[in-house]
Symmetry: none
Subunit: 223 residues, 4 copies
């Protein structure tokens, strides 16, 4: 996955790499750190293993990053800022632009399919971000501001548009609409992972369609 990341463009931790350029060494170290953190979590990872995986000497790591914690931040924060965040909204944005005239139901299905692919590809990275954000406020802040809020915003914008178009109820808070569709969708993804037997042999697109339909028409039996 990191191979698609062009370069870390914006901010950086500490005083190194202010230019936004990453040397080959730094790149190798961060890639290695991500691999190791992803497998064992931050606390259970050792700098010596990161060095080994990166193919550099242990001392070299501390020439680029003052502490182990700085490696964590230098790995995850740029990834959130430049990769997870943008990645989460860009494709969404394009998708919405290109399908502005499609009916709600179909656009939502496209969105969910796109999100599903995206999340699956990013899962190991997302997992470590979500886990470590619990113990490192710096991560939590960036996660909220650069990922969560952005995703919310594009969703909200989309929902508001459709609301204005008259395709969605306007007696309800858009926020709750988002909770509903997003929550239903994520819970479905999680339950597919936890209980894979339940989804065996089913058509994924068909299943997502049901989620969308349920969101739009509601659970109550029509009389």
């Amino acid at each position: 996955m990191p191979d698609q990341v062009p370069t870390f463009q914006h901010s950086w931790i500490g005083d190194q790499s202010l230019s936004g350029e990453l040397t080959d060494k730094q790149w190798k170290i961060l890639k290695a750190a991500l691999t190791v953190f992803t497998e064992k979590g931050y606390s259970a990872s050792t700098t010596s293993e990161i060095a080994r995986v990166a193919g550099v000497a242990e001392g070299t790591i501390f020439r680029h990053f003052k502490t182990k914690k700085e490696i964590l931040l230098a790995t995850l924060i740029p990834l959130m800022q430049n990769f997870i965040g943008p990645g989460a909204t860009n494709s969404l944005h394009d998708l919405l632009l290109e399908n502005d005239n499609l009916p709600m139901e179909e656009v939502l299905l496209l969105i969910l399919e796109d999100r599903q692919k995206h999340i699956a590809a990013l899962w190991p990275l997302l997992r470590i971000v979500l886990l470590e954000a619990n113990y490192h406020p710096e991560l939590k802040d960036v996660l909220l501001n650069n990922v969560v809020r952005k995703v919310q915003k594009s969703f909200l914008v989309f929902l508001e548009q459709r609301q204005r178009k008259g395709e969605l109820r306007d007696d309800l808070d858009v926020w709750k609409l988002m909770c509903s569709i997003f929550g239903g969708f994520v819970t479905y993804l999680v339950s597919c992972t936890l209980f894979p037997e339940r989804e065996q042999g089913k058509n994924n697109r068909q299943e997502l369609k049901v989620i969308v339909e349920l969101f739009l028409r509601g659970a109550q039996k029509q009389t």
Copy 2:
């Protein structure tokens, strides 16, 4: 929270406390361990801090638990089996029994209010369980079998009843119904925590009502 736990009645790790009785010392150690794990996570916690918090010598800990990991399991597994799991279903069960004749909408509201209180009370505990389950398969197993499956089941039973009564659509998988209401609800709770400013001055019960209403009637504008 642990103060409400009467005694750990069922299983226990290793051969100690098979009777389900916890000595005062064991209780103190586990309570301290829970506190420390909750604050720092398992890996970053030290047995010496647990001992300090428990007010016992470090050696005492190892008289009761062979390894640090056993402390983790001995803390979280019984809590899941005897406290989180039952706590998650018991009150739900009673609630459903007592309100069998209430309309869907009202019962769901009662359920969500009850769940919200429950989750809020348990949050620190739930958080550490969810986090550590990522690194300890033993925890994941118990979490799935003693908590997740149980909660699902009571939900499903309830939804199926109402489906049979004709109050819910029967052209849909109950499982998806559950994903929808459960996901919408949890996402709402999470977003309240992450963005408290959004809920300020709002009536909680009123908000939950909207969630329920949205679930039942759907997001699409009625024509």
Copy 3:
């Protein structure tokens, strides 16, 4: 082996058991200590294992012996004084008395056979005594004075008798005679243990006979 030890009659370590009587508890502890020390050596043994093997509480041990080291001394010193030492000389003494008129060659054979049996029976005990004597001067003293010197003395007395009878050269130090026969014999025993394949299918008594014959007639080819 300890079952044959009647009671520890003489000295005792510390102020307990001056009477020479051993309570049942003390007996059990010392027997257990001997077992454990014999298997793992003193340093690698733990008082908790001794207690377990003895079937008493760990605290009970320290009611009878002030320190772990005192257990070692209380176990091995009386055994050397009352069991190994006497055992090494008594049977020898009897054997010599009863066979005063037998020729040198035959008596020596009887002696070696008797010693071989004795050493084989005592080996685990002798081994721990010889090993720990290297690290505990108190043990070394008792070993020298109560075992080594005694064995030497009976040997020397015997050899001197035979020397006076004209059966042994009197131009040589009896001491050296003893070194020769004793050393040859012990080396033979050790090599039997280290290289058991070498003795397979051989008649033990015949082998000992060769040792004796070699000692008496020498290695040089007679012309």
Copy 4:
């Protein structure tokens, strides 16, 4: 003693020092370990004392040796393979070659004198090897194969030669001849150490001569 050891040329424990070169630090650690083990035995020695004696940090030890036990093996095994073993046979070999035409009696005397010096110089090392071989099969194996068997072999070869020359009885197992002279000699050495008063004022060479003479001519009075 270690100062005479040039470098450890052959095998080594683990994957360090395969080249047979020892860094200064490794050398210091092993020398310190040998000192401490020699004084207190393996079990009673602590890695912290070894570090102190070696003049390095405790952590440094574990950069070179994975466990305490590996220190023991890395110390004693190469010493047996490259120092004790060869040292035990080399000088013997030369001695026999150079004195092939000397009479048995004189060669044996030279051998014993040489062995005596050798053993005296090596005694602390030999002692710890013999003691710890009782608890560590790996040590026992190397001791048997690289020391004991080698010494035996050179002895046996020598004795067989002399047997063929007609200087030793050929009606006897060479093995027993070896037990006899070797055992008598070692027992003499041991008794000199245990009872130094006995040898005071005596001429060592003269004493060894008696041992040899006794071995060759036997203890029986010639008529």
